[in-house]
């Protein structure tokens, strides 16, 4: 399941989840920024937990729930609190790291709903941004925590049972 919809395809053993999401599911928001699991641009949620989808085989996601940034907004298109916070705090510039950064941030607040600034920085260490200097990303995550992100029901909070 990708963003709540079933996606079925035969894939090569070596197909990476990020390529499955981009090429087979046709969801191109999730980006590839490196080849060493360093940059986090490909971060998605797998059964609700953030993973770098360049380092997960598509086959490993068989029968599991994948959530990308396309699946984060509500059914009426209303922005998830994390998306709202990124916009309000100017937490993105070129936008390339953004889908992964938002998903990592959602996951971060699920694990720690009221992080300190240092905890936000540590939690996002695996996600590179070259534009913002992280300043406004950190502010956005702290602002989203204030919005009590974890209290709002959304696809990100759904966990496969």
């Amino acid at each position: 399941m990708v963003n709540g919809a079933p996606v079925a395809a035969e894939v090569e053993d070596r197909t990476l989840l990020v390529h499955f999401v981009r090429e087979t599911a046709g969801l191109t928001a999730t980006n590839v920024g490196c080849d060493t699991t360093s940059c986090g641009a490909c971060t998605v949620l797998l059964d609700g937990e953030s993973v770098k989808s360049c380092t997960v085989l598509a086959a490993q996601a068989d029968g599991r729930q994948v959530t990308t940034v396309e699946g984060l907004a509500g059914p009426g298109g209303e922005l998830h609190p994390m998306q709202r916070a990124f916009r309000a705090e100017h937490g993105l510039q070129c936008g390339f790291c953004t889908p992964g950064m938002v998903m990592a941030s959602v996951s971060l607040l699920q694990e720690n709903p009221h992080p300190t600034e240092a905890e936000v920085r540590a939690g996002l260490e695996g996600n590179l941004c070259r534009c913002t200097g992280y300043h406004n990303i950190v502010r956005a995550v702290l602002a989203a925590a204030e919005l009590e992100v974890t209290g709002s029901a959304g696809p990100a909070e759904e966990r496969a049972s």
Partner: protein, 757 residues
């Protein structure tokens, strides 16, 4: 009240936050449905003759449609006659690891990676040329026909007696190390041909320059090439125009008669995209013991990498800005630009100016340490006085407006300089008594001035159209890749026309829609592109006034535009109100339209001051940036949200150069930092939140009063952070540490100083 100067959140963001941007590799267009994937075969050796290429095995690999090499490029115009000309695909010699040698065209990208490894290239190794000393030795030549590895030189050594009147003269040589731009989106392109015309999608900072470059390389008229710039995931100078890899994709698509697409890996990006900086500096600074700097000379050796790209112009910019913010009796600079068997050097955020600032700001601290004076006081005594503007430097730059002492005083006050020095003294005193922790405090300063829109005379284009629905469209030659043009340029239009932001569309990066344009680099977009939009909006307003006057049968002079409601009316008479839609419809089928090619009369010179506070663990050598306080005065601010964002990103990249980032090679020219696991791109944990102070000194160079802000943060941050690291251990006898100031280097410097005491 004008919208200009107010905090407007970006209109770009909802799309980027929900669907994601459409970057080049995200394109899912019908024209590209049958596209083959391009995979480059790149040189694994730094310097070698190519004695043979065998693609037979690769051609038999699954999914392989073709393998192309330089031998297939017989349909291209002859390359320029210079001996140092860069080929598209290496023919007889490779000059750096990562140089393109061949391409493999496959049905999918996994097949391409497999097959590229099967292309067998015979290399006859030649001696690598790594570092500027090896280049200057001229023992192994990259281009034997050129006779030397020295690509270009200029300037003069300090004349006899230049330092004669100085009580103190300090000389020092240090690197401004090679760094990698690392835009999060790597290079990518897609190409298709129809009826002899190329459509090329490319991740570039300027579609029009890319078009001209590609057309030139393929021997085509510019009209036969359409370049489209989808969303671009960062550029930082490294995506100005395009480069050989993208041109190869365009050529191969014609050769095969198939659409092609290419996206490089990060490993390829770190080898094949230009690197930045890569200069060695020798500074000589002299002055009196009461803190007056009298003379300064900067000698620059630019490592250009394997081909003449940025190496041809970057050291000239460094030379131009050598004297920084200081009023000096003598300032001179000289440079040599040399070829080495490494990745070519190009523009990277600041492009020649950060190097100038890093050199003189380090020199000023060395001078201050030599005479035992507070570095803030030395700066205050030597900066150009506010009444001296416009100020002409020894190199001929004319600084338009500034108040350098005010910027310095603002960061000192904002940071609480006296308190920081007191805390530093307290920790040092405890340390002398064998108490306290190992963390010593360092305070580093940098005062800077830089040049933006250096190519001011090339200007920028804009066309503003208001259509019969009352909506406005802005066509701009400027080309955003994260800066927020859609928001900023719409603000300029709504400010003049009163058309709401959500009814204004900004179009860029398509050479069919915007045939003439220059692009986004060198902090030029707002002052050139923005001024062009501003002027075009005013012209549209003037046209509308005449049309509306005819409709109401009133004198144009009696009409007013109510920018709150976006309606035209006779002054004080709302009953005569006409909407933009009505006026544009009356104007004709094309609505109202004005086109401007704005050429500025001169560049602008933003300035500022940065104060960095670091803690250095004197046992491990680890430096941690704990505060960073800045003034970055770029004239009037259009949108503080965007301007602050530019400063934040710049500060991070500047601090990264001071502390972490360095592209390294071994003696044979093998890259040691060719993945993001090895190259230390700065992360969130290595930075604090930044403390930005506001200061606006308008320029008179353009009607908006604006200068450029894109690179300022980078320029100020690098020397401030490095000076802070050195300041933290100055009491131990350390005068200098080379960048990047890694724990190992800091630890070694502390121990070396101990040994020398």
């Amino acid at each position: 009240m004008s919208i200009l100067g107010t905090r407007v959140v970006r209109t770009e963001d909802p799309r980027l936050l929900t669907a994601g941007g459409t970057y080049t590799d995200d394109l899912r267009l019908p024209e590209l449905a049958r596209a083959l994937r391009v995979t480059f075969v790149r040189s694994p050796v730094a310097h070698a003759e190519i004695t043979g290429i065998d693609a037979k095995t690769a051609l038999d690999s699954p999914g392989v449609v073709a393998v192309l090499t330089a031998a297939d490029a017989d349909d291209l115009p002859p390359a320029a006659g210079r001996p140092t000309t860069e080929p598209l695909l290496a023919a007889d010699r490779v000059r750096y690891v990562g140089e393109p040698v061949a391409i493999v065209l496959t049905e999918d990208s996994y097949q391409g990676e497999d097959a590229a490894e099967l292309v067998s290239v015979d290399y006859q190794p030649l001696a690598a040329v790594v570092g500027v000393d090896a280049a200057l030795a001229d023992e192994s030549l990259l281009f034997p026909a050129a006779g030397s590895n020295v690509l270009r030189s200029g300037g003069d050594p300090a004349p006899d007696g230049a330092f004669a009147g100085c009580d103190v003269v300090v000389q020092r040589t240090f690197p401004n190390q090679r760094v990698a731009p690392v835009p999060l989106e790597v290079r990518a392109a897609a190409a298709t041909w129809a009826d002899g015309r190329l459509t090329l999608w490319a991740s570039t900072q300027n579609a029009q320059q890319a078009r001209d470059q590609v057309a030139g390389a393929l021997g085509l008229d510019a009209a036969a090439v359409r370049v489209i710039t989808p969303d671009v995931g960062g550029g930082f100078g490294a995506k100005i125009a395009t480069d050989r890899d993208t041109i190869v994709v365009a050529w191969a698509a014609r050769r095969l008669g198939r659409p092609l697409r290419w996206v490089e890996t990060r490993n390829e990006n770190l080898l094949g995209m230009v690197h930045g900086r890569a200069q060695r500096h020798t500074i000589t600074i002299g002055g009196s013991r009461d803190g007056r700097i009298l003379a300064y000379h900067l000698d620059i050796i630019q490592d250009s990498g394997a081909y003449p790209r940025g190496g041809t112009f970057l050291p000239g910019l460094t030379q131009l800005m050598a004297s920084g913010v200081y009023d000096l009796a003598y300032c001179g600079a000289a440079f040599r630009s040399v070829l080495t068997t490494t990745t070519p050097i190009g523009a990277y955020r600041g492009a020649g100016r950060p190097e100038a600032t890093a050199a003189i700001e380090r020199a000023v601290d060395l001078f201050a340490a030599e005479i035992g004076m507070d570095p803030a006081e030395v700066r205050r005594r030597n900066v150009v006085a506010p009444e001296a503007f416009p100020y002409t430097t020894a190199s001929g730059a004319v600084y338009d407006t500034g108040d350098y002492a005010a910027a310095l005083d603002a960061v000192l006050a904002g940071a609480g300089y006296a308190g920081l020095r007191a805390e530093q003294a307290r920790r040092r005193a405890l340390s002398r008594q064998g108490q306290g922790g190992p963390a010593q405090l360092g305070i580093g300063l940098a005062s800077y001035v830089e040049i933006t829109a250096g190519d001011y005379s090339d200007g920028e284009t804009s066309r503003v159209v208001v259509d019969a629905t009352g909506a406005a469209t802005v066509y701009t030659g400027s080309s955003p890749h994260g800066q927020g043009h859609q928001t900023a340029f719409a603000m300029l239009v709504t400010d003049q026309l009163g058309i709401p932001m959500d009814r204004i569309t900004v179009i860029h990066g398509d050479t069919d829609q915007v045939p003439h344009g220059v692009g986004t680099y060198g902090s030029r977009s707002l002052q050139l592109g923005g001024t062009a939009v501003h002027q075009a909006a005013i012209q549209v307003k003037d046209q509308a006034r005449e049309v509306a006057a005819g409709m109401i049968e009133a004198s144009a002079a009696d009409l007013e535009l109510d920018t709150a409601s976006g309606t035209w009316q006779v002054r004080g008479d709302p009953e005569t109100a006409l909407s933009w839609a009505a006026v544009a419809a009356q104007a004709g089928p094309d609505g109202l339209s004005a086109e401007v090619d704005f050429r500025a009369a001169s560049p602008t010179f933003p300035f500022g001051a940065h104060l960095a506070v670091v803690e250095v663990d004197t046992q491990t050598g680890k430096a941690t940036l704990i505060r960073h306080v800045t003034v970055d005065d770029a004239g009037k601010v259009l949108n503080p949200v965007l301007a602050e964002g530019q400063r934040h990103g710049g500060i991070a990249q500047g601090a990264a150069q001071a502390l972490l980032e360095e592209v390294r090679y071994d003696a044979e020219g093998n890259p040691l930092t060719s993945t993001l696991a090895d190259y230390a791109a700065i992360t969130a944990t290595e930075l604090p939140s930044f403390e930005l102070l506001a200061m606006e000194t308008p320029t008179s160079v353009n009607a908006l009063g604006v200068k450029g802000i894109g690179e300022a943060g980078t320029i100020g941050a690098t020397p401030a952070v490095l000076n802070a690291v050195i300041d933290a251990v100055a009491h131990l006898g350390v005068r200098h540490i080379d960048m990047p100031a890694t724990p190992q280097r800091i630890w070694a410097a502390i121990n070396e100083a101990k040994g020398s005491v």
